[in-house]
């Protein structure tokens, strides 16, 4: 659908996602990009653009980290820049590369998403610093409480329960056991989720993503330049931004805080470009949701069901392998590993591996079409991408 400048992902390289990596940031970036190039069959001499995503500088404790990590991704002598849109950073970097390729600024790009939050000694305190210092930061807002404010509203509006969300978590953890790159590879049960430590009611430890580090790299090329090599063709993509103010979205006519208006709009556009009526028409859907409740918040925007029918859909066991419908998060998703600056790019990379048939143990047999979402900045930024094999 992208016309003459049709694009495809032709290579993926990822470090494992881990609580902590001992290597330096440039070393990790260099390794992931090297793997993505080997997977693509291209060399760095074939690359025109190097676009990097890195989320809050203070998590890594390094101001303007682009200075060090972009050269490690191959930027020397090329067009290069760093992108940051919170959780959507990695996919925003990929979209920037796609835009530049479509505009004719080259045939192939390296995109890398980076997360080094293990360098911070207090991650929640750093996350508090991302919120508005004038009106909101004094309330101690963190990424967990910000999410919990949505979860309780979903319980109140649509009747979600901790038990239903624990089933979502159980499925994500089960899928992650097939992914050697996942950080949590223990098949925690719903019962274990429901008895894990309460962080911010109603969110418990195992409803939430872990603290993760990792680097993901992809090689994107114009399909004409990709030749006949296996590729994940970009069939649709869209990104939409919302107001920062969460309180402005409470009871908003166009879409409430928990109705995820920006993902609804992005999905409508991306699915429309790809000729899909619903993301349920895909074989694989990687949902960028660092919490189980957040995954279910994406169901209506992705047109799996109406928002009020979400709890009933969860009760059917929707999204499991061999469940008959799309497989949700065969990688385990962000609940099993959420390196913030990389995680939205990982969703795209995992979808690419699935449609290329290169997903190893976590391969969904015969996967031809996959949908990846991206969510960032307290659900302020949303993306939706549709890939299919060439």
């Amino acid at each position: 659908m992208t016309g003459p400048a049709e694009l495809a992902i032709i290579g993926v390289g990822q470090t494992p996602s881990r609580r902590r990596h001992e290597g330096s940031t440039p070393e990790l970036v260099h390794a992931a990009v090297g793997e993505a190039l080997r997977h693509s069959g291209l060399g760095m001499a074939d690359i025109d653009l190097v676009i990097g995503g890195f989320a809050p500088d203070a998590l890594a404790g390094e101001n303007c980290p682009d200075k060090r990590f972009l050269p490690a991704a191959g930027a020397v002598g090329k067009w290069s820049m760093r992108v940051n849109t919170g959780g959507t950073t990695g996919i925003a970097a990929a979209y920037a590369a796609m835009d530049l390729l479509e505009a004719g600024h080259g045939d192939a790009a390296v995109v890398v998403g980076v997360e080094r939050m293990a360098q911070a000694r207090s991650v929640p305190a750093v996350f508090n610093s991302i919120f508005d210092p004038i009106y909101e930061r004094d309330t101690g807002l963190s990424t967990v409480s910000m999410a919990a404010l949505r979860a309780s509203r979903m319980m109140q509006r649509w009747g979600y329960t901790a038990e239903l969300w624990a089933r979502v978590a159980e499925r994500n953890f089960k899928h992650a056991t097939s992914n050697p790159l996942a950080q949590i590879r223990t098949a925690y049960t719903a019962a274990e989720v429901l008895t894990s430590r309460m962080l911010a009611w109603p969110i418990r430890q195992l409803d939430a993503c872990p603290i993760s580090e990792g680097v993901c790299a992809v090689v994107i090329a114009r399909t004409a330049a990709a030749g006949s090599r296996p590729a994940a063709v970009v069939r649709g993509r869209a990104t939409v931004t919302d107001t920062y103010n969460m309180g402005d979205r409470i009871g908003r006519r166009e879409g409430d805080l928990v109705e995820l208006l920006t993902l609804r709009l992005a999905a409508e556009r991306a699915l429309g470009q790809a000729g899909l009526g619903s993301a349920a028409g895909a074989d694989v859907v990687e949902i960028h949701a660092p919490f189980d409740h957040a995954e279910t918040m994406a169901y209506a925007p992705l047109r799996f069901c109406a928002a009020a029918e979400g709890p009933a859909l969860v009760a059917t066991g929707f999204g499991q392998r061999d469940g008959g419908g799309p497989v949700l998060n065969p990688s385990g998703g962000p609940q099993a590993a959420n390196p913030v600056g990389a995680t939205a790019l990982i969703r795209l990379a995992e979808c690419a591996l699935q449609v290329m048939g290169d997903a190893g143990q976590r391969q969904v047999p015969g996967a031809a079409t996959a949908v990846a979402t991206g969510q960032g900045g307290s659900t302020q930024f949303s993306t939706c991408t549709v890939l299919s094999r060439n």
């Binding site: 990790l28 309780s152 319980m155 402005d248």
Partner: protein, 160 residues
């Protein structure tokens, strides 16, 4: 993929510290909003295009991309639209247990985030079930205002 920094020497870590002091410029709208709090008034600003009353007050409406015009005093009474109960302590963050929530005040088109006081939190599930009923709340001002959002807190009209 192997760790790139392998080899026989143990990986080195170097301690760092990042503690810079700042002063945040609140801007014209927030300065006026906080001055209102000192006079025990919660003020919103109205968008001339969509007519929403934005609380806390903003200089412009980001949905319509126009400057707000009128200033409107809103009621201290409202509804707790959504909330969370902070139950785990994290370094650098307020000490739990605490409730924070978004409250839609009468006369406002948006909700404002603040602490909600006066709730028995010994059983978080029971407190959560009570707060899911969207209880009525009222803003109570602290004795001395410092020009911070925490110059007021919300309390339940019917104690839990």
């Amino acid at each position: 993929m192997d760790e790139p920094a392998g080899g026989s020497v143990p990986p080195l870590t170097i301690d760092g510290h990042w503690a810079f002091d700042y002063q945040y410029f609140a801007g014209a709208a927030a300065s006026r909003f906080f001055a209102g709090l000192a006079a025990r008034r919660i003020m919103g600003s109205r968008c001339p295009q969509c007519a929403r009353v934005l609380v806390p007050a903003r200089a412009f409406c980001d949905a319509c991309f126009v400057e707000t015009t009128d200033w409107v005093q809103v009621s201290p009474h409202g509804t707790l639209e959504t909330f969370t109960i902070l139950t785990t302590s994290f370094p650098g963050l307020p000490e739990p247990p605490l409730v924070v929530g978004y409250v839609a005040l009468e006369g406002a088109s948006t909700a404002v985030l603040n602490f909600v006081d006066g709730i028995d939190l010994t059983d978080p599930d029971a407190a959560g079930a009570r707060l899911l009923q969207r209880p009525r709340v009222t803003a109570r001002f602290r004795d001395s205002c410092q020009g911070r959002i925490t110059d007021f807190v919300f309390t339940l009209d019917e104690p839990a």
